[in-house]
Amino acid sequence: MKFDVIIIGGGHAGSRVACGLQDSGLKCAVITSGRSIHGTTLAGFEKKGGIVFADDQITNTCIQDSKIVCVRTEKIGQIALEAEHYVIATGKFFSKGLVADMKKVWEPIFGLDVEYNEDRSAWYAESFADHQPFLDFGVKVDESCRPSIEGKTVKNLYAVGEILAGVSCAEKDDLAAVDAGADKVIDIIKAQ
């Protein structure tokens, strides 16, 4: 199955990118582990021809020459989902966009490079009220919002929302920054 853009994550940021690109005439698909798509933001997305793979998750990815070729999901594993561009918007820890064990933090779908402190004792502030450093962890991107794997930029993948290093809506109202990032990615993809 081939699309122009596959968006991984159906939260606020993923939905905004999906709607924006579908509106401009691109054929988009959203893969979300959520039971349903993100409420009103995605209203109309399916009506305009967008496809939503809800309650599903990516089990397999194929990457060649720093380009994503296709992804497969748990529910329709036999069919490869292909696209020109991919957007990852899977959020931080709570939504499992990032995973942490006792020693490290990683991005579980592509193994993207993640910015975090290797000293676990520095992940948290003493007091609940203070700024929590672990909320700054996230994937690193270049000026075109593209993350990297082992230092090499993935050419057709863009990251938006809370999965980004330094972006979190937990402690401050970062929604404007999330929206601006999503809109920037919409413009970059549209321009290609």
Partner: protein, 541 residues
């Protein structure tokens, strides 16, 4: 400054030893004053496994402790039935234990030692052990069933305090002893300061009992005597659900992290044992090394712990005492130590009761009270081994809740479980009273009101220790504000709700960040979002 002189005995320390001593003294007709600088059950009492030891753990090395344990085990089942969960226990032998000399030969030694101490220890087939406790490590090669159980130390301590009060004792929490009233070589009373209001007072009694656990070291120094105490830190981890229904122990020489105890809605693994300086006793932190060790050993008992969310980590301090004749402190006793400072140090009217453990608190209280009575020339006999604690007069949650309410709600059943027959005092008069405030632990508004009215509750932590509010899987994420508001209103200080909530969040955070990875870190991000999103300054002072 107030002057009071109408007590027979002053007990310092609101842990289980002090609470038990206050109860015993008051039941023997003495006028008792119990003083605690924070809240009851705040020290080691509330920071352990909550294991109702069968004594099997001590049988091989320390028959005396084992015998004390099994006797008290049987007594607590009767007098504190609403605090005890008869889970039974297993001592398992793993294949690798044979390499360290603790194979099935040791099991034989272990069982013999148990039987000699009066502990019923039954060797069972490993297959039957798995049937009895499906979460146990399936590679086990040996299993022994013993009468272990779990005991809720908060409930136990609170019931002792309540009974002391019912027998006329006066209880002062958040009251710190700042000095002693001395007349020559006689202690005649204490000087105290209220930790909340700063108000100072003096209380007089012919006998003062130091039952302050590890903090008893400083109390003794204040009185001019020296007890060679050694703070031994023990760290534990709490898992997010009740993984096992039977206590699982390792059948070998006692080591770190070899006891897994189910308690209410959670499971606890522990402990470690590290000597720490006295300055650290008030600020316990669990280190990454301790967490690693507990997880590793815990997984050997029960492999599914590796994938179970850890709720939090905590640590307590055992008050170990060096033998008087050993200045090096090497021969440390874990047994009960009762010191009459008149014969030992020439200081009259002062007794210290320390050492021991949660399991033997009642016996410690009996020994201390005997010493008090001897000083006061009283021949009153101890009745605590046979008289049920308040709440345990009728046994069984079902009977209690059926008798009280016919068909009980979840919240009422939970209240009956926590308070036993005392749940009759909880007033479910309006529909709001029946509403659940804490949904993890089924705590109703009515139970919170009851705790504030009858159980000396000042802070959210105090409320947690009485009701288990905020102790469940969400660690208070969904109920802190509801509970803090209910507490603030019940205290008559509605404006204090935010401060109460903020303090509680900080305390929960302390325990969570020690284990902040995996699903626990997910919960932590969620908690931050629930309480801080869009309002970053709400929880700043």
């Amino acid at each position: 400054m107030n002057n009071h002189q109408d007590f027979d005995v002053i007990v310092i320390g609101g842990g289980i030893t002090g609470a038990g001593t206050a109860r015993d003294c008051s039941m023997r007709g003495l006028k008792v004053l119990l003083i605690e600088r924070h809240d009851i059950a705040n020290g080691a009492t509330g920071r352990n496994h909550g294991l109702l030891h069968s004594g099997a753990r001590y049988a091989v090395k320390d028959a005396e402790s084992a015998e004390e344990c099994i006797k008290e085990n049987q007594i607590l089942r009767k007098i504190a039935s609403h605090c005890v969960d008869d889970t039974q226990g297993l001592f398992i032998t793993l294949p690798e234990d044979a390499d360290t000399g603790y194979g099935l030969d040791y099991q034989k030694t272990f069982v013999e030692a148990c039987l000699k101490s009066g502990i019923s220890a039954k060797v069972i087939d490993p297959k039957d052990a798995i049937r009895m406790e499906p979460s146990v490590n399936p590679t086990l090669i040996g299993a022994v069933q013993v009468p272990d159980g779990s005991v809720d130390p908060f409930r136990l301590c609170s019931s002792n305090v309540v009974d002391a009060q019912l027998h006329g004792a006066k209880v002062l929490t958040y009251t710190e002893v700042t000095g002693f009233l001395k007349n020559g070589d006689t202690i005649e009373g204490v000087k105290v300061r209220n930790a909340i209001t700063g108000e100072e007072a003096e209380y007089r009694a012919p006998v003062t009992v130091n039952a302050a656990g590890i903090w008893g070291h400083n109390i003794a120094q204040m009185a001019g005597v020296n007890i060679g105490m050694y703070p031994a830190k023990g760290a534990l981890l709490v898992f997010a659900h009740r993984v096992n229904n039977v206590v699982i122990n390792r059948c070998r020489k006692s080591a770190d992290g070899d006891i897994l105890v189910p308690g209410d809605s959670v499971t606890v693994i522990g402990t470690t044992s590290t000597k720490v300086p006295f300055e650290e006793c008030d600020h316990m932190h669990v280190t990454p090394e301790e967490v690693d060790l507990l997880l590793r050993e815990g997984c050997a008992l029960c492999p599914s712990l590796a994938t179970t969310r850890i709720l939090r980590a905590y640590a307590g301090v055992r008050p170990l005492v060096a033998a008087d004749d050993d200045p090096t402190g090497r021969s440390i006793s874990r047994g009960i130590v009762c010191l009459d400072h008149e014969t030992r140090d020439g200081v009259k009217g002062f007794i210290s009761i320390t050492g021991g453990k949660l399991m033997t608190y009642r016996l410690m209280a009996e020994i201390a009270t005997d010493a008090v009575c001897k000083k006061l020339n009283s021949s009153a006999q101890c009745q605590t081994a046979t008289t049920p604690l308040p709440g345990s007069e009728t046994s069984g949650v079902k009977e209690v809740s059926k008798k009280l309410w016919g068909s009980a709600t979840q919240g009422q059943k939970a209240a009956a479980g926590r308070l036993g027959s005392r749940a009759a005092e909880v007033e479910f008069s309006s529909p709001e009273d029946k509403q659940l405030v804490c949904e993890c632990e089924n705590v109703t508004l009515a139970e919170i009101k009851y705790a504030v009215k009858h159980l000396n509750v000042n802070t959210m932590e105090d409320l947690r220790r009485r009701t288990r509010v905020g102790m469940g899987t969400c660690q208070g994420t969904f109920c802190i504000h509801k509970a803090a508001k209910a507490l603030a209103i019940a205290k008559g200080e509605p404006e204090s709700a935010d401060k109460l909530a903020a303090d509680f969040l900080d305390e929960r955070w302390k325990g969570m960040k020690a284990v902040g990875w995996g699903d626990t870190l997910r919960e932590m991000e969620f908690m931050q979002k629930v309480y801080k999103a869009g309002k970053p300054d709400t929880y700043k002072d």
